[in-house]
């Protein structure tokens, strides 16, 4: 089981914040991951000012500039409509990050709360949560997301809903196992004897001990959500054109494959860049907190 102690006894005397920062700055993976993510967030947020051709995210057509290879004017080349792929890729990052915020912003809190309750109280909540997660685990997430989003309407919003519906179960399962093991600790019993209510025990005693597990899991999951979203839109379940979206850009470029390789590899590399950032940060956090996967 994961070692919940975040600080060694030898660390006493220095502030927790300082110790965390020290460990973080000494972990090359974590630092590299955060630098990558920082650059991604800055690029995505300030995309209209940082990209050379912000108008190219719309339905611009410039046939004289079709399929231009990468050069100084177009770093990633241009696509079939003569639009700058670099600008579209940067704007595409926005969709990816939005997806992460949307999916994890809902599924992490929901999964955490349900996992805490199921682990601490047991009983019928435990049975329902573990039953549901068992069913969800038997379902290839991509197949489920495809089925749900298409039975409704193949949009990114529906894909997001479908992913969220599945994703909370993974968090619930993880937090459930942590919470269950903590629930039998002496200090929880002590808090209960001291008259602490269930809300206090759940959120002030158990939850703080789950923070490291949650942060590692959430960071690694962010990479999965991005891969997932890109894969869905690659298969044709993405945002409506002309809005740029990394997965559908790759799918579009695939028609012109061996000749105009940059139309596939550049947006694809952008996906790889973001997922690499999240994975490095997640691995770094795991080493820092000494959490086992």
């Amino acid at each position: 089981m994961a070692d919940m102690k975040m600080l060694d006894s030898s660390d006493r005397g220095l502030s927790t914040g300082y110790m965390m920062w020290y460990r973080f700055s000494r972990n090359p993976a974590a630092v590299a991951g955060s630098l990558i993510l920082l650059s991604v967030v800055i690029l995505a947020v300030f995309a209209p000012w940082l990209t050379p051709y912000p108008k190219h995210v719309g339905a611009v057509v410039d046939f004289r500039a079709r399929h231009l290879p990468p050069d100084l004017a177009h770093w990633f080349g241009t696509d079939k409509a003569g639009r700058d792929i670099f600008s579209r890729t940067i704007f595409g990052l926005r969709v990816s990050l939005l997806l992460v915020i949307g999916v994890l912003g809902i599924s992490v809190p929901v999964g955490t709360v349900l996992g805490l309750i199921a682990g601490y109280f047991g009983g019928w909540v435990e049975r329902i949560v573990s039953g549901l997660t068992n069913v969800m685990l038997a379902m290839p997430p991509l197949v489920m997301a495809l089925a749900v989003s298409n039975l409704l309407e193949p949009t990114l919003m529906n894909a997001m809903i479908a992913i969220t519906l599945l994703w909370w179960t993974w968090h619930a399962r993880l937090i459930y196992s942590v919470s269950k093991s903590i629930a039998s600790e002496d200090y929880i019993e002590a808090a209960r004897l001291a008259g602490a209510g269930p809300l206090h025990i759940l959120f002030r005693e158990i939850l703080p001990n789950c923070v490291s597990v949650i942060s590692v899991k959430t960071t690694l999951d962010a990479a999965f959500v991005i891969l997932f979203g890109a894969t869905l839109s690659f298969l044709g379940f993405g945002v409506k054109p002309p809005t740029p979206d990394l997965g559908s850009m790759v799918a579009d470029g695939r028609q012109f494959m061996p000749d105009f390789w940059w139309e596939v590899l550049c947006p694809g590399a952008a996906v790889l860049y973001v997922t690499l950032g999240f994975n490095l940060l997640g691995d770094g956090l795991r080493d820092m907190f000494d959490v086992e996967s």
């Binding site: 038997a138 290839p140 990479a223 298969l235 694809g268």
Partner: protein, 342 residues
């Protein structure tokens, strides 16, 4: 806590049946309550209202949902999954035709995954924090981070440039005139019929997609094998072996590897979910024409019976894979056999 392995497996089997029931209810309800009339979708906008109503009646769509579900399950248990609205054939026939291609692809990927990941995991654990370990770490990180579609397309591109003549789409050269064999697994059929050219050709076609499909799993399993080997190295019984002077090689291959293959096997079982998901992408890129391609078509065209069947078969596939993993683990792990030995 200790159970007889047979009891344990039967319990798991029971859970799996419950899971299948829950899954089928979920997908069934989902497929029926969504907006849009399946009968109308099947016939298209040109059909008259009478035709639509007639088909609704024929499909049993006027019945209560519970009746429709029980009817569906009853038929499904007899191998009748309804008609595919798009192909106008029984879904079971479509599945029989497409499933072997995917099973062949997935099986070869899994074998490849273990052939690469376990040795790399063992080597990186042995040379911990040295150059080989870092190379292995980069390999596994690449496997986990790279989008499968990007990896598949890149492989195709590299093969097209670097290996002229190497097949990059499809399952077999049609010029071989292979009529198809009894199992549907091209390599096996070719070998059974003594047509080694067919088997070799199918294997060539299979190589790239199988490699592309196994990449994510290679990353995961390398990681788990490495950390599991390192963790078990610290165990007391390993220390005992070392202090008795048992050679390192014997310790690694006779004791550590067996113990450390439990975690990767468990992960492998769970990895099947993403393996099936990724098969959708790989089959699309390599024009594989298997079960996943069929599923994608069914989903895109809202072919309800086919979608329901695809989701159920995918779930069943996952469950069977995990059952096999459970059996393998109980064979490997002597701690699960304790009761039997007493």
């Amino acid at each position: 806590m200790q159970q007889h392995p047979l009891v344990a497996i039967l319990t798991r089997l029971g859970t799996f049946v419950l899971v299948m029931i829950a899954l089928s209810v979920m997908i069934f309800v989902l497929a029926r309550v969504v907006p849009g009339d399946p009968a109308r979708m099947a016939l298209g906008p040109a059909a008259t209202q009478e035709q639509v109503d007639a088909l609704r009646l024929q499909m049993g769509l006027d019945q209560p949902l519970a009746v429709q579900y029980l009817d569906y399950v009853g038929k499904a248990l007899h191998g009748d999954l309804g008609m595919s609205l798009v192909s106008q054939r029984p879904v079971t026939a479509d599945l029989k035709q497409t499933a072997p291609a995917t099973v062949e692809l997935v099986l070869v990927s899994v074998i490849f995954m273990f052939l690469v990941a376990i040795p790399v995991g063992v080597i990186t654990a042995h040379y911990r924090d040295r150059a080989l370990d870092h190379i292995g770490r980069i390999l596994s990180l690449t496997g986990v981070t790279i989008p499968s579609f990007l990896f598949a397309i890149t492989l195709q591109l590299l093969a097209a440039r670097g290996l002229p003549g190497w097949p990059i789409i499809g399952r077999i050269d049609h010029s071989l005139g292979w009529p198809g064999g009894p199992t549907g697994f091209l390599i096996l059929d070719g070998l059974l019929a003594g047509r080694f050219d067919v088997a070799l050709n199918a294997l060539q076609h299979l190589a790239l997609p199988a490699f592309a499909l196994s990449m994510a799993g290679i990353g995961q399993i390398t990681r788990i094998t490495r950390s599991s080997m390192i963790e078990n190295q610290r165990k007391d019984h390993v220390l005992t072996l070392q202090s008795f002077g048992v050679p390192e090689r014997v310790i690694i291959f006779r004791y550590l590897l067996k113990l450390s293959s439990i975690a990767p096997l468990t992960i492998m079982g769970l990895e099947f979910a993403s393996l099936i998901g990724n098969a959708f992408v790989i089959e699309m890129v390599f024009a594989w024409g298997g079960f996943a391609s069929y599923g994608l078509q069914a989903i895109l065209q809202k072919d309800l019976n086919a979608v329901t069947a695809v989701v159920l078969v995918a779930g069943l596939f996952f469950i069977v894979a995990n059952l096999i993993v459970d059996v393998l683990i109980s064979i490997i792990d002597p701690r699960l056999r304790r009761k039997e030995a007493r």
